[in-house]
């Protein structure tokens, strides 16, 4: 990705203002799809921020006591309750999948079909594992603990409502990412990104930059999870 | 030419409408005349800007109509002028904002001697509660509302026992005595608004909101709900009567406290029980051995 003309441009703040003042593009050398993904992620950040800020507001103002997440989300291991065990594993899986995604992007730009495809697949499997564990968490709370969006035995009823809504939205984002990851893994192995085969719906030429764009989305999903983990489970 | 004249007519017409309008605010009947004064200041400053800007526009229409070969000024910017205009606008804005913020400061700081009056709103009427002898309102909750506790007063709170219940939509107030209105809603958002008092605040279910004012003029005023609350919103009216001490005491005497309300209910219950027992004992007097 090293472009000789790009390297000649000034860097730092001066570079930023020169770029903004220049003609044609404000972000030099940035693929359109990548730029669109950044802006989309900015918008999506506002969505999750609204969810989390609303959660903090309601938690601060409800009269009923708020349940202790470390107790609600504990798992039994060898007879003793281990607080937050499941989400610790989930967080590890998701962060690792971000790592495999970054490797996939690297191999993609090196045009190493086999390694790129393998790491995309690994990321997809990591994501799928995460969703599976989230589903397990949900079923445990719903079927065994009686947690509902409208009530729960642990404390304020908004606890369940926020839990399902926020993790549901996040899980949906992860699932959409997993679907795209499997589709892209197939495209990589088939060699579509090498040949520049045109997409079925969009009829645009395939390029390895698409892996990087999907990678951006995947890292975003991971980052949102870190915030959810911090605000909902740890606080 | 006619274009310029018509636009000029619109400006002059607006000013004349403002001066001659029969639709003008009600005479202020509370202490919040300062809000009216801020509005008048805003009319002068902001209204002045409107008139000046539009007159300038009309002038341009008259002075610069299209003429082939007219000499047109090519001046992409004039930083000095822009800076000056910015400063003038900023000063104008501060001149509007500062007095307004002082009035707002007064609005949120309730005087110490204000009488607390609870206004309860529900779809689609009003009722009221006064703190009684101890000057304190008892705590309450929507969950406590039952037939024998229509205001939902906490039965364990001693402050609530002497609260005066006004279970109709007519509220009386003393002239020249500030009141702090504590708003409660039993269902959705409402707003207790009397145009002549100027003050208002939404009643929000789940919390108690407040505002204060001091009635200055005796008279009868209409209350309007000023926050959309469903199909009955427009019909959710009430009355506020501002009167002197003597008439106020007369009105107050007609309403009972919470404890006498409870006692009356108890007594009724007791009476009903007695009637039941008497009826029973008519048949089975000998068995029940009841003394008359």
């Amino acid at each position: 990705m090293s472009d000789p003309t790009l390297d000649k441009l000034p860097g730092g703040f001066k570079g930023m203002s020169t770029d903004m003042g220049s003609d044609q593009t404000a972000f030099k050398g940035v693929n359109w799809g990548k730029a669109m993904m950044w802006i989309f992620l900015l918008s999506d950040t506002f969505i999750f921020s609204c969810f989390l800020i609303s959660y903090m507001k309601v938690r601060a103002s409800v009269v009923d006591p708020w349940p202790y997440p470390s107790e609600v989300f504990a798992l039994e291991f060898m007879g003793a309750p281990v607080p937050l065990l499941l989400i610790a594993i989930m967080t590890f899986v998701l962060i690792t999948s971000s790592g495999t995604m970054a490797l996939a992007v690297k191999y993609g730009y090196e045009k190493n079909k086999k390694m790129c495809g393998m790491f995309v697949l690994l990321t997809a499997i990591g994501g799928l594992t995460f969703v599976g564990m989230q589903a397990f968490e949900w079923s445990k709370l719903i079927f065994h603990e009686g947690v509902r969006p409208w009530t729960n035995p642990f404390g304020a009823e908004q606890f369940g409502a926020f839990f399902f809504m926020i993790t549901g939205f996040h899980g949906t984002h992860v699932s959409i990412g997993v679907i795209f990851l499997f589709i892209f893994a197939r495209k990589v192995f088939k060699g579509d990104f090498d040949t520049g085969k045109r997409g079925f719906f969009t009829t645009m030429k395939s390029d390895y930059v698409a892996i990087e764009i999907l990678g951006l989305y995947w890292h975003f999903v991971d980052l949102v999870w870190v915030f959810i983990f911090a605000f909902f489970y740890l606080w | 030419m006619y274009t310029g004249l018509t636009f000029l007519g619109v400006i002059i017409g607006s000013v004349l409408f403002h001066i001659w309008s029969p639709w003008w605010w009600t005479d202020v009947a509370s202490n919040w005349g300062s809000m009216d004064e801020t509005i008048i200041l805003t009319f002068w400053i902001a209204g002045g800007v409107f008139v000046l800007v539009c007159l300038f526009l009309v002038y341009c229409i008259f002075k610069f109509p299209y003429k082939e070969g007219r000499e047109v000024e090519y001046k992409p910017e004039d930083n000095k002028l822009e800076k000056r205009l910015t400063w003038i606008t900023a000063i104008g804005v501060v001149a509007l904002l500062a007095p307004g913020l002082f009035v707002w400061n007064d609005y949120i700081k309730v005087p110490n001697n204000a009488i607390h009056i609870e206004v309860v709103a529900w779809q689609w009427s009003w009722k009221y509660r006064l703190p009684g002898e101890d000057g304190k309102l008892g705590t309450s909750s929507v969950k406590n509302i039952k037939d024998d506790n229509p205001f939902g007063i906490n039965p364990d709170d001693p402050n609530g026992k002497d609260d005066i219940l006004i279970d109709d939509s007519e509220l009386h107030l003393l002239t020249n005595k500030p009141v702090k209105i504590l708003l409660r809603s039993l269902d959705v958002l409402h707003n207790f608004y009397v145009p002549q008092f100027r003050a208002k605040m939404d009643a929000v279910p789940g919390v108690v909101t407040y505002y204060w004012f001091e009635p200055k003029k005796e008279g009868e005023y209409e209350v309007l709900c000023a926050e959309y609350c469903g199909v009955g919103h427009y019909a959710m009216r009430a009355a506020v009567i501002v009167e002197d001490e003597e008439n106020y005491k007369k009105w107050l005497a007609k309403h009972e406290t919470f404890s006498s309300f409870l006692a009356r209910k108890d007594n009724n219950l007791h009476k009903t029980r007695m009637v039941k027992i008497n009826n029973l004992s008519k048949d089975k007097k000998s068995i029940l051995k009841i003394e008359n």
Binding site: M36, S43 | M35, E77, E82, V93, W104, N105, V207
Partner: protein, 610 residues
Amino acid sequence: MLDDLDIKKKNSQPKTKSSSASGGGTDIDYVKPAEVPDQDLYHGHSFITKWIFCQDAKVIGVQYTLTAVLTGVIGLILSWMMRMQLGFPELFPFFTADSYYQFVTMHGMIMVVYLLTALFLGGFGNYLIPLMVGARDMVFPYVNMVSFWMFFLAVMVLMASFFVPGGPTGAGWTLYPPQAILEGTPGSSYGILLMIISLALFVIGFTMGGLNYVITILQARTRGMTLMRMPLTIWGIFTATVLALLAFPALFVGAIMMTLDKLLATSFFMPTILKAGEVLAYDGGSPLLFQHLFWFFGHPEVYIVALPAFGIVSDLISVHARKNIFGYRMMVWAIVGIGALSFFVWAHHMYVSGMSPWFGFFFATTTLIIAVPTAIKVYNWILTLWRGNIKMTVTMLFCLGFIVTFVNGGITGLFLGNVAVDVPLSDTYFVIAHFHMVMGIAPIMVIFGAIYHWFPLVTGRFLDEKLGKLHFWITFLGAYSIYFPMHYLGFIGVPRRYFEMYDSPYITSAVGMNEFISIAAFIVGAAQFIFFYNVIKSLRLGKLAGKNPWKANSLEWYTPNVPPVHGNWGDKLPVVHRWPYDYNVPGAKEDYISQTTPPSEVREAEVEKT
């Protein structure tokens, strides 16, 4: 599908010398070479791919415009029904309070979101952005096409709410809980759900479109087109789109939470409620949370409507007064500044909501600060007219109408923004008069002015000038007579959202005023038929306009074909040498110099270096 593809010839010759006919090449005409290869567009060949699922942004723009305008006509009809009830209640006994509140709600939501936002961003944005920045199309035409059909679906779902049991929601366009989902408000069972679903679809569609607009403007400009050489129309639409991308999430989140409150009996917004003698299952929620979320969206939303109008009117005034827009750089900074500040003023809609009173100080201050860049824009518009050469075309008339109504509406905003003044005036007809003047009349003036201006580009024909002037005068004078006096209803204390106009023994009667306003509204409504007739007639019989009939400078008038075809520019993309406001430059031969005119052709003119 793949055989339909037609890859455009690559425009890969970097221009290092001017190729103008006179005098060979000189360095003063140098423009940097192209940074990216020419865009590769999908050309439809069947009727469906050329007109229905078309990826050409111009077709999509027309689709948005037609859908938004038709939806707006429904909103207009709803307003007539409201005025019938308010002006002459005895004549229309079949209007019940239920149906009145449904009209109020649907009218508000349709006009703000489905007409104004869709028309400015989806209609004007799609048509004008690629043309004005010199691109062949949007950066992702497929997603752009999908975005229109999402909007169309959103409109269908909204219209469907008229036909479900209980009818459409009557909760007011602000949809406040708890009343929006409780009995006692019309449409609280199905109507509110369809409204929310429709809004969610709208947000998703507009995110897709918005990404296109933003990235096309940032990354797909032609050679020589710097950000500060873009017409203000683009700046306005660009900033509005950024606002939309950041503000709609709050609405989306509020809508999701309200849906869960309705469907799953959660208590995000629902506190303990007593209804018909029974305490409902809700507990602990906060109605104010919804208001914060809604207005965090709602305030930027009104700037999403206003900023494109500001940008467009600047260009219209400039062309028709044959003068550069005064203070272009300040205008750009004002647009960006207003956009940024708009995120910090939302709670001025909540001064009497019961929120912490200390917020009143903060939001009153930020609200009045935002008045400063807005005032600068007004000064710059009238300074553009000063010493100009004003052609009194229909477009210019609408621009003048805009200035008068916008200043009026903006001024009344100062009343409401000042927190203590808002206390007596909030929730009265003063507020209704304010927002109709500033959001209804002023932007509509710009829309009409813009249509009369760009109709020759889109169709190749002029709209009839005489009918246009008649349309303007009735609309402007009529609408002003509706909303200017309405402020005084607010002063006397008439609250808003009253089914029966409030008539009190203590206050001057409003009956006569209401009758007058209703009649004026019917006249203005009828006058719009003049406009529609004009459009339909002129499509076939309008005077042929030829190329660049208004002698404007911006790129959209310099396509090889008029109306422009798919790909816009033919074989060669335009090269830009200047800003679009070189009108009446001293020393120049003509009273306009197009953006594509190289400096070597206008050596004698004293142009500003842009």
